[in-house]
Amino acid sequence: MHQVGYAIGLRYWLNKMGYPRLIISGFLLLLLIMTPFVGVNLPMQITNIINRFSWNGVLVLAMVPMIHSGCGLNFGLPLGVLAGLLGGTLSIQFSFERFGAPVSFLMAVVIATPFALIFGGGYGWLLNKIKGGEMMIATYVGFSTISFMCMMWLLLPYTSPTMVWGLSGNGLRPTISLDGFYNQVLADFWKIDFEKIAGKLDVDLGPLEFIKIPTGSLLMFALLAFLMWAFLHTKTGTAMTAVGSNPTFARAAGIDVDRIRTLSVIMSTWLGAVGILIYQQGFGFLQLYNAPNNMTMPTVAAILIGGALVNKASIGNVIIGTILFQGMVTLTPTVMNSLIHTDMSEVIRSIVSNGMILYALTRKTEGSK
């Protein structure tokens, strides 16, 4: 299609990727190049990026169905997260770890599912009433539900001693360690640990020994991403894309637009629930109260950095976006710290993620509408 020489030109990449993604990729590349010079352990950083990718990948994937059906960026992600938290806490409450950590995790997913279906169904119904204003309302539905659940975490009759406040005996703690429950249950599955391999083979791999790959988590992401990809190739998946692309066309072709939109919201919410459980098993802690608030913006920003539009997204966008965003999150503090002895990462992350969302919102050329 294009001449090879043209592909090297800056303008080609600009058109293909847009300014923000190009700047972020360049920034990340610069950080990677700088790592050896400022004395940062590159293999460890790469392990970090892979790890964080495995934690966040599914959450970012949860954006895809709603973007496809034209519901916009899912600022209502907290609903899914809360369903996941309910699943996680109940799994601990009922001590499913007795049957082993994998069962504990599986039961967390199983218990989270009906909550995700109910939350997603209600949320989808609401979003159908307010077409056009989804994003702002989703944000505040998220906030209201989180603050409602804040009360519930205090009032629900949880009794598991690992979770409730020691003194008063009721009300959940803000941070619950998952040690002894489903901590690392996916990550440790077929884990590739270069240090152990080196130990077994009795060779010195040098800095490579820092590399550890959480195979199970990655496989889980791959499985869900594959299912998502497959779904988008089915009849219903095709209808979902068409609804997002032009709802009037879809209606004229006999599609029940509201039903498809509700389905997409339920899928997004369920993926959000599973996503937060995968995040927790990697992170090692279950965070309650206002913590779900902090999941939304990075997740929305990640898929946008990956090249998604307000009404178009692909699995590729998810993977690229998560790697770029998490790469930035892990590399910026370490590199910056060793370079100028200041941790500006929080500020840079905030500028990048919110700037990315702003860019997407102000772009005139998104879709046909």
Binding site: I130, F143, N354
Partner: protein
Amino acid sequence: MSGKNNASVGSRLLDLVRSNAVPIMFIIICAIFIPMSGLSNSYLINEIVTRMGRNLFLVLCLLFPIMAGMGLNFAMTLGAMGAELAIIFVADLQIWGIPGVVLAMILSIPFSAVLGWICGNILNMAKGREMITGYILNFFMGNGVYMMVVLYIMGSIIPIAHASIMLPRGYGIRNTVSLLHMRQCLDDLLAIRVKGVKIPVLTFILIGLLCLFIVWFRRTKLGQDMRAVGQDMEVARAAGIKVDRTRLISIIMSTVFAGFGMVIYLQNMGNLPTYTGHSQIGMFCIAALLIGGASVEKASIGNAFLGVILFHLMFIVAPGAGAYITEDTMVGEYFRVFLSYGVITVALIMYEAKKRMVKSKAGQELAEAQVRAGKEAAK
């Protein structure tokens, strides 16, 4: 007109309740909570008067963008940031008291105006999604650009003379800047006490002046243009009104006045939480305005007054009431947060749902008329 008079008192009352459902609901909530909280009336009145002085100016700033049809200005926090920058410089210059407050207000104008100009231009690029864009912009500026300036650039690039407001590491501003020498200097000047309740007369005069300005502004050409743009951009443009410019001005005005409001707010608080001061301001002001009965497209000075009283009353009594019901003070804390978010959510939903309802209802009426005409023709 005669038709209206004939409508029964009951149905008119019902209409009144329906159109003021949110304030009525909050009046009921407060009425139930006040006895539960166990707080004395004099304490409550004192608190409410203080909080009115502190917050009303900020809430009133939201009226300009609503007039111009840009919805709830979630980016009003930009003005708060402008004021915070101004206050930091004033604190660094060690100018306290009334001169300090006046200087901070004057200094805040350029900061707020520039931030408002940026905001207005961005919102003009995102027509139809102003609220979510303003909301994100507030994070972009607040957690990004403002943090960058205050935490890293101040003291390193922008000279800061007084070490007392700087972080020990030699640059960046402390988490809290004490405004002890400025504390309530505006409120105390001309203050009077009525039965133990301190009334900050000067602050209320300033608020009164802003109200007068708003009333007067509605009667100006610019105010008229804003209302026109707010109702129908296309028609306004066809009539020759510069739509984008008018919208931009409304946002700049809102931001600059929010800057003044934030100075009033901070002198009352007596210290500046450097990095968190602005973060909740937008949300609280918007919730207060909505509780006062405003909607996304319509708000009045009365809504602002009623809203501030009800919102803060609820805010003061909720923890106590929560503790009374559940024997857990935290529940009350969360409950009031839930109510503030909840009221914004409901207001937004009602706004969007109404937009759709108006459309479908118009269609229905048309169809019915046709059927009727058809039947008559058949006869």
